[in-house]
Symmetry: C2
Subunit: 483 residues, 2 copies
């Protein structure tokens, strides 16, 4: 018997200890240990203390993911990681406590001059979360990069092929991959008469073209950024151009833009890139678009961005701007983006040795949101486990037999479950299968045990067949590999 | 042409901007954006600025994981997650900004009364890391729990089966799983004459028995904790007992310990538990050990801990105490631990509704360290990619043909690579295969193209065979599924 007053006193003291440790920012283990003691004291009171100090919500800007959301995430991860692996990528992990260029730092620090790697990790933002806009404090980033001195445009083309594979496999709806080149943009600005020191600001105005009509963009250039009407008009002509290899070839002959050496280098590379994209069979979705101007300054060559073009997606993805990528100016519908950055690694190297890089960020949080929306509007149920078979019985006192059989199945690598009850009702066992989408039930009864068989029931059709115990594992494998 | 002095001035100004934002703790995106601008300015200087402000090391208490380490981690994750899935577990994710009882909070908050789930996540410690002891600021936790009102000991037995499966599959060497029950410990202390208010402190002394000889433990009990010599002696007798079902049966007849109702309840459950463990075929590794006393106060019933018993492991795992589990007192060699905690969820529920739980934490960081050590001392190379075939050529001007073939392979889901060079040397292509363990090379030459075949070379044996192009995918699948 315990004295309640004594425990209540102890809770008070222990509460003080916890508060003190927290105010002193003591180490987490110590606080947790003391909190555990506090919880245990409260447990002894049996909930009689009347009030609960532990608020039932997650911290600001954070949320839980339930099994259904996690199952969707896992499917997305698997599709993406399988694609990276199909292309021979390794993976590395760098600490979360770091600026956004850990890959460049990693290469320079380890003197790595070539690698093809992906990195998928949860990252954190410190600023105010905006959950209504889907900006959470915790979110995933997913990057793929190829570093190394190689022949032009081959790794760049593979990055685009990877984006194409991932978006096709995830079946998110139709998409386009816009391609441009930093050098083409810069060259175009130069020949249109944009002063050097206005390249960046004009570039960021051009970048608004996917959200604003040309007239507004032009107004911003002229009225706010002080560009001449004429220069703006010329830019307007170029940034309305979209095409493929032929457009690149045409522009190489353009009397104006061909005056820029930079632009010509970019255009030649775009031309070469498209010849590789043809061999990779992905030109159906890739478009050379002179209005594409990604925000990050470290890009030195090809840049690209993938957008979902399906109706309805814009709405979903606006709500889902959960810091989708490490890029700043991800536009509505954007699900991937990247480009070539040949200068970044050299900045970290003490001797300035350059390691050319090209990479892509997949907007994985946005993809999660779209997949969740799709799952919700679909009639198909999302399974949260992969159980192939439930070991059940219709009669009493067969727990031991059920445990024996489920052990045989586990030993064979079959995903199997048994209810944690001595004498569960057959109906409740079958209901559990229907609810969690388990396709098969292995039913044991005294007759089956006597005959050395198991009754295998297909949940969807309610068909049943007696299977010799020796053949059960093979039969389960056969039936579940078909699905 | 750019004016270097002008850029250097701009770098200075931009550096000030970054420093100011950092000192104001501005939001991360903003800082990152300004840092990117700074980096770009430096890039324009072409490394001429002479000094590099970016220090090439990771933050204190953190480290990178290279592809080899990540490959080992992935193998461990896969083994563990496959086991959890084989047992029908779902997965959830809870925010990292939370005390160590997120699962209890999650259940109470969502009014979930039964679930079988795992959760693998990176967590962070705020206190001073001790990297020499393997205590890093970032580390993984891996938990599996079964929540719900079920018949006694069935889920508990499954947790032990899961630990047995994981440790067997990971092939870490021989292991033991010690089992005890909180109620047996408490009952034993009571019948030995330990005062109520000394249960916890005596319990933590008992817990040191795996690191200290009995004589020292006894001394601590008597001299430091003020226990009577007689009580200590009686405890000493009990805690030296190890066995299985028979020991539980014998103690149920023990004139002393059977006086405690609590102890009897615990002993009956241990007896029942062992009968299920027999059906699960895992009694070879499980031992009922009255000296096992896990530190956390929230345990209410069965407790257990898995230890590696192999020589040499102790040394490895001492170095590898990277905050391995959420448990405090993980002893040397311990790789998993857990128990039943029936009171915790109720503390979070406004109405105090209880949800019985039993769970296990896998010491995944420790397992990583052991696997890394094993890999280092083994002659076998750890592959960091899964590439099945390299598409190569011996002659010049076949880049297009290589890209066409690799596209065919990717379309068929084959993991394939091609070198990013127009005219790579055959030797360097073969060397790359040897270095990264790629088992097959598909070699294209003009003769092969003419004949409609591909020369398939086995890297290990150097055997070569001409395969009709139509049969290539099937042949690659056949050869790599054998491996």
């Amino acid at each position: 018997m315990e004295d309640k007053a004594k425990i209540q006193e102890a809770i008070k003291v222990q509460g003080e200890v916890v508060r003190k440790l927290k105010s002193e920012k003591a180490n987490k283990e110590q606080i947790d240990e003391e909190v555990a003691k506090l919880l245990e004291l409260k447990a002894r009171l049996g909930g009689d203390d009347g009030k609960h100090q532990f608020v039932l919500k997650t911290a600001k800007g954070t949320r839980d993911y339930n099994p259904k959301q996690m199952a969707i995430r896992e499917k997305v991860f698997n599709t993406i990681i399988n694609c990276f692996k199909r292309h021979g990528a390794e993976t590395i992990d760098t600490p979360v406590f770091e600026l956004k260029v850990p890959f460049a730092r990693y290469l320079a620090m380890n003197k790595i001059t070539n690698i093809k790697r992906y990195h998928i990790a949860k990252v954190y933002r410190r600023d105010n979360p905006a959950m209504t806009r889907g900006r959470y404090r915790e979110f995933y980033q997913c990057d793929f990069d190829i570093a190394g001195q190689y022949d032009a445009m081959i790794p760049d083309a593979e990055c685009l092929r990877i984006v194409h594979e991932i978006l096709s496999e995830l079946d998110l709806g139709d998409f386009r991959i816009k391609v441009n080149d930093r050098r083409i943009l810069d060259g175009m600005f130069a020949v249109c008469g944009v002063p050097d020191d206005k390249f960046r600001t004009i570039c960021s105005t051009v970048d608004k073209l996917d959200k604003m009509p040309w007239e507004d963009v032009k107004k911003e250039m002229v009225n706010e950024k002080g560009l001449s009407e004429e220069a703006a008009e010329q830019i307007g002509e170029y940034v309305s151009m979209q095409g493929g290899k032929t457009l690149a070839e045409r522009l190489l002959q353009d009397h104006k833009i061909s005056q820029s050496k930079q632009a010509c280098a970019g255009l030649s590379d775009i031309k070469l890139l498209f010849s590789y994209l043809e061999l990779f069979h992905i030109t159906d979705k890739v478009v050379f678009d002179l209005s594409l101007a990604r925000g990050l300054d470290y890009y030195t060559g090809v840049i690209y961005e993938a957008l979902l073009t399906q109706a309805g997606v814009a709405q979903i993805s606006t709500e889902a701007q959960n810091g989708a990528t490490s890029e700043e100016n991800v536009s509505v519908g954007s699900v991937a983006g990247g480009g070539r950055y040949d200068g970044l690694v050299g900045m970290f190297d003490p001797k300035g040795r350059k390691v050319p890089c090209v990479g892509v960020s997949i907007g994985i949080e946005r993809i999660f949101s779209i997949m969740e929306q799709k799952a919700e509007s679909s009639a198909e149920k999302v399974r949260t486990t992969e159980v192939q078979v439930m070991v059940a019985s219709a009669q009493k006192n067969l727990l031991e037999e059920r445990l024996k059989l489920v052990t045989e199945l586990w030993n064979a690598g079959i995903k199997a479950e048994v209810m944690y009850k001595k004498n569960p009702k057959l109906l409740s066992q079958l209901q559990h299968c229907e609810e969690s989408g388990i396709p098969l039930v292995a039913i044991l009864g005294e007759q089956e045990l006597k005959d050395g068989v198991v009754k295998l029931r297909v949940v969807a059709t309610r068909e049943e067949a007696d299977i010799a115990r020796d053949h059960l594992i093979g039969e389960i494998r056969r039936r579940t590999s078909e699905a």
